[in-house]
Every structure is written in structure tokens, then in C-alpha cells.
């Protein structure tokens, strides 16, 4: 019976989380256009529904009905597979993130924990899947049979793997503190107010993580693989219809996931910032924190110019790599002193 309930719970949770994630992705595209619009003294989408709220659906429906072009010079199977890899990995990354506390079903003593899976190598899973996601972009650009696409995917490959090293190193400090790769434990250790959050102990690591994360999700100022003014859209230059939409959604889903990981590792996950605010459900706090990070991503897209490719590579290897290593050594050393 227990197994049966577990299965039911899992299926419901998976479907709900998937639906919520997709809805967030849809409204993230709306939010980005709206916020960018207001930064740039214009309105953003405001024709489909009130405040343009139906715009994402209009875009989605349009994407389904657009002509599905596969260029003659493309490597067809890889060309079709690439956007699928991108979206699958972007969605799957969310599976281990605890997005809220547990609650008891009313009328029963059945406890529902607000996360899909709680595995002991949660962080490794996240980074493993994130690396898979890079294949989507790299293969997509390469399989297009287009030189701009090829250049974009080469850039993507070099940039993403370079920053993955620094990204991996930047969170070692957090692992040192929490002695676990299990995300639920990392969150549990940050309970009891914002002064227990990891960002207080690891502020530098948080900054490194955000910088690397921006490079991983290809946002300005690191949007090299796309760089529309240089490569005319780079890796997705030949994509149209739903295949393009999948890349697009993958990018935004990736953004949400990366923000969620940053929240989980550094900003206390679903924990309330002050103890007396704990009566508000953790899901709300989680959403609010993710929103703030995402707003920051959008904001800096409206502000900064784009860096040059070689500068990004140099910054990743020569600056971030060293700084993250130093951060680890200092953290370990301080922990030794404190016993």
C-alpha cells in the first residue's frame, strides 16, 4: 500500500512540477520582455490579453504552426535531436531541487515532501545534467551545416566547459560547510534566519557562482553562442518553428533552474529570511528568491554590453579559476582553525 501511495504521490508531483516549470518558463519570457520594455522606455507586449498576459500562449501556438524547415546541408538526425537534448536536460535538472517544506495531507497522516527526488548526490546530478544540456547547443550549431552556427557552437563548447570548471569549484566551499551533496540537507543547515545562509559565510563564492552561471546559461554579457549582432543568432540560426521554441524554452528553463540552485545553495532555499516569518509557506519564499535572482539576470541584460569571446575565455581561466581555488583553500583553512 505504501508503495502505491508513493507512486501516486510521485506522479502527481512530477506532473505538477513540470506544469509549473513550463508555466514559469512561458511567463518568464513575458516578464523578460516586459521588464526590458520598461527599462527601454517602451511597453513590452501589451496586445494579447490584459498587459499582454496571453502573449506566451500566442507565441507557443504560433511556434507549432510555423513551417518546420530542415536545411538541406544539415545533419538531419542530430539537427532534430539537439533541441530535444537541450529542453530535456533543462527540465530534468529541476528534479532534485527542494522547493518547499513538507506538509501533512489534511485528514490523513500522510506526509508530502515538496521535492521530486531527494538523492544523496543531488549536486552531482545537477552538474551532470547541466553538462548534458551543453550538448544540445553544441550539436545544434554544428548540425545546422551553417558557418555561423558552427562558430556559435564552437564558442558555446569552449565557453561552457571553461566556466563549468569554475562553476564546479565555486560551490566546493558550500560543500565544505554543509558536508553533504544532498540538497535537502544543504537547505536544512541554513534554517533559522538569513544570518545562517551560506551567502553570509561564502559571499565570494556566491559572486563567482552567479558569474559562472551567467556564462553557463549564455546570458549577457556572456551570450557568445548567440551574439545576434555578430553571428546573426549563432547556434540556432537555422532553427525554426517548434525546434527554435524548444531551444528558447530550454534557455529560460535553464535560467530558472540555475537561479533555483543558487537559491538552494546560498540563499537558504525555501527557508524564511526571518524566523517569525516562518508561517508563510516555504514555496513562497523559494519563488520570491528565485524571482529576485531572475530579475537581476534580466536587469543586467538591459544594462551591459557584451564581452568579447577571448576576453571571456581569459577571464574564466585566468581569473575565476584562481579565485575559486583560493576561496576553497581559505574556507578549508578557516574550518581547520575553528576545528
Amino acid at each position: 500500500m505504501q508503495v502505491f501511495y508513493f507512486l501516486i504521490e510521485t506522479i502527481i508531483k512530477c506532473v505538477v512540477v513540470f506544469a509549473c516549470l513550463m508555466l514559469s518558463v512561458a511567463y518568464l519570457t513575458w516578464l523578460e520582455r516586459k521588464v526590458l520594455g520598461h527599462i527601454q522606455i517602451r511597453f513590452g507586449p501589451n496586445r494579447c490579453g490584459p498587459f499582454g498576459l496571453l502573449q506566451p500562449f500566442s507565441d507557443g501556438i504560433k511556434a507549432f504552426f510555423k513551417e518546420d524547415l530542415i536545411p538541406g546541408s544539415a545533419d538531419k538526425p542530430v539537427f532534430v535531436l539537439a533541441p530535444m537534448i537541450a529542453i530535456i536536460s533543462a527540465i530534468s535538472m529541476f528534479a532534485v531541487i527542494p522547493f518547499g517544506n513538507q506538509f501533512t495531507l489534511p485528514g490523513t497522516d500522510y506526509v508530502v515532501k515538496l521535492r521530486i527526488a531527494d538523492i544523496d548526490i543531488g549536486l552531482l546530478y545537477v552538474f551532470g545534467i547541466a553538462s548534458l544540456g551543453e550538448f544540445g547547443i553544441v550539436l545544434g550549431g554544428w548540425a545546422s551545416g551553417n558557418k555561423y552556427g558552427l562558430t556559435g557552437s564552437l564558442r558555446a563548447a569552449a565557453q561552457m566547459i571553461s566556466y563549468e570548471v569554475a562553476l564546479g569549484l565555486s560551490i566546493v566551499g558550500v560543500i565544505l560547510l554543509s558536508q553533504s551533496l544532498r540538497l535537502t540537507e544543504i537547505v536544512a543547515l541554513q534554517a533559522g534566519g538569513f544570518w545562517h545562509w551560506n551567502i553570509i559565510y561564502q559571499p565570494a563564492a556566491f559572486v563567482f557562482f552567479i558569474v559562472c552561471a551567467l556564462a553557463e546559461i549564455n546570458r549577457t554579457p556572456f551570450d557568445m553562442p548567440e551574439a545576434e549582432s555578430e553571428l546573426a543568432c549563432g547556434f540556432n540560426i537555422e532553427y525554426s518553428s517548434m525546434k527554435f521554441a524548444l531551444f528558447f524554452m530550454a534557455e529560460y528553463a535553464h535560467m530558472i533552474t540555475v537561479a533555483s540552485i543558487a537559491v538552494t545553495l546560498f540563499l537558504g532555499g525555501w527557508q524564511a529570511p526571518l524566523p517569525f516569518l516562518e508561517f508563510i509557506p516555504g514555496v513562497f519564499w523559494f519563488g520570491a528568491k528565485v524571482f529576485i535572482l531572475i530579475f537581476f539576470f534580466i536587469w543586467q541584460r538591459g544594462t551591459f554590453p557584451r564581452l568579447r569571446y577571448d576576453q571571456i575565455m581569459k577571464f574564466g581561466w585566468k581569473v575565476l579559476f584562481e579565485l575559486t581555488l583560493i576561496n576553497i583553500l581559505i574556507t578549508a583553512f578557516v574550518m581547520l582553525l575553528k576545528g
Binding site: 508513493f6 508531483k13 512530477c14 513540470f18 513550463m22 511556434a63 507549432f64 504552426f65 513551417e67 518546420d68 524547415l69 536545411p71 538541406g72 546541408s73 545533419d75 532534430v80 533541441p83 530535444m84 529542453i87 530535456i88 527540465i91 529541476f94 528534479a95 521530486i116 527526488a117 538523492i119 552531482l124 554544428w142 551545416g145 551553417n146 558557418k147 555561423y148 564552437l154 563548447a157 569552449a158 563549468e164 570548471v165 564546479g168 569549484l169 566546493v172 560543500i175 565544505l176 558536508q179 553533504s180 551533496l181 540560426i237 537555422e238 518553428s241 517548434m242 525546434k243 524548444l246 575565455m313 585566468k318 579559476f321 576553497i328 583553500l329 578549508a332 583553512f333 574550518m335 581547520l336
Partner: protein, 118 residues
């Protein structure tokens, strides 16, 4: 233990289903009237010179090799970090030695110019 991974399996299955559904649905719903010009690779409106599947500059391979090297280092750091509190001084010194060796390699590739782009 392994049952912990079952939800992930479900979840990934949903993701895969969604991806397949999206590709298939747009394939069925969208019109398809391919012409030779439409199928040509986009190169700013001009005919493309030669093939796009070509040899890639060695630079990118070097970066890939560096990534392999240093990402393995990261993977070693994770278990070390998890049990660092139990290892105490021994853990710190052994990791310091490990990192020192890597740093020597890192300085070497820096001096060799593998991190330069011009």
C-alpha cells in the same frame, strides 16, 4: 536507496515525452513547402562558400583537454569536501599537495600560451 531515483525517472520521462510531442506536433501541424532556396544554409543572403562541416581550429581541442584535466580535479574535490571535517589536517595537507601539482601544470599551460587567443 534506488527507489529514490524512481521519481527522477518519471520526471525525465515526462520531459522526454514533452520534447517528442513538441517536435512531432509541429511536424504535423506546420506546413511544409520546402524549396531549394529555403533549404540553403543562411549566410546573410549570399551563397555559402564550401562546406560548413570542416576542420576545427586546434585551439578548441586544447580547451577541451584543459577542461578534462581540471574538471577531474573538481570531481576529486567534491568527496574531499564532504568528509573534510573528519579528515582534519591530514585532508587539508593532502589536498594542498594535490592542488599544488595541478597548479604547476596550470602555470605551465599559462606560460605556454594555451590560454591566449591571439
Amino acid at each position: 536507496m534506488l527507489i529514490d531515483y524512481l521519481p527522477i525517472l518519471f520526471y525525465v520521462a515526462i520531459a522526454i515525452f514533452f520534447a517528442c510531442f513538441a517536435i512531432l506536433a509541429s511536424h504535423l501541424l506546420g506546413q511544409r513547402k520546402p524549396t531549394r532556396l529555403k533549404e540553403a544554409p543562411y549566410e546573410c543572403g549570399m551563397n555559402t562558400y564550401g562546406s560548413s562541416f570542416r576542420r576545427v581550429p586546434i585551439k578548441y581541442y586544447i580547451i577541451a583537454m584543459l577542461f578534462l584535466l581540471f574538471d577531474i580535479e573538481v570531481v576529486f574535490l567534491y568527496p574531499w569536501a564532504v568528509i573534510f571535517k573528519e579528515l582534519k589536517m591530514f585532508g587539508f595537507i593532502s589536498m594542498a599537495i594535490f592542488l599544488a601539482i595541478l597548479i604547476i601544470a596550470y602555470i605551465y599551460i599559462w606560460k605556454k600560451g594555451a590560454l591566449e587567443w591571439e
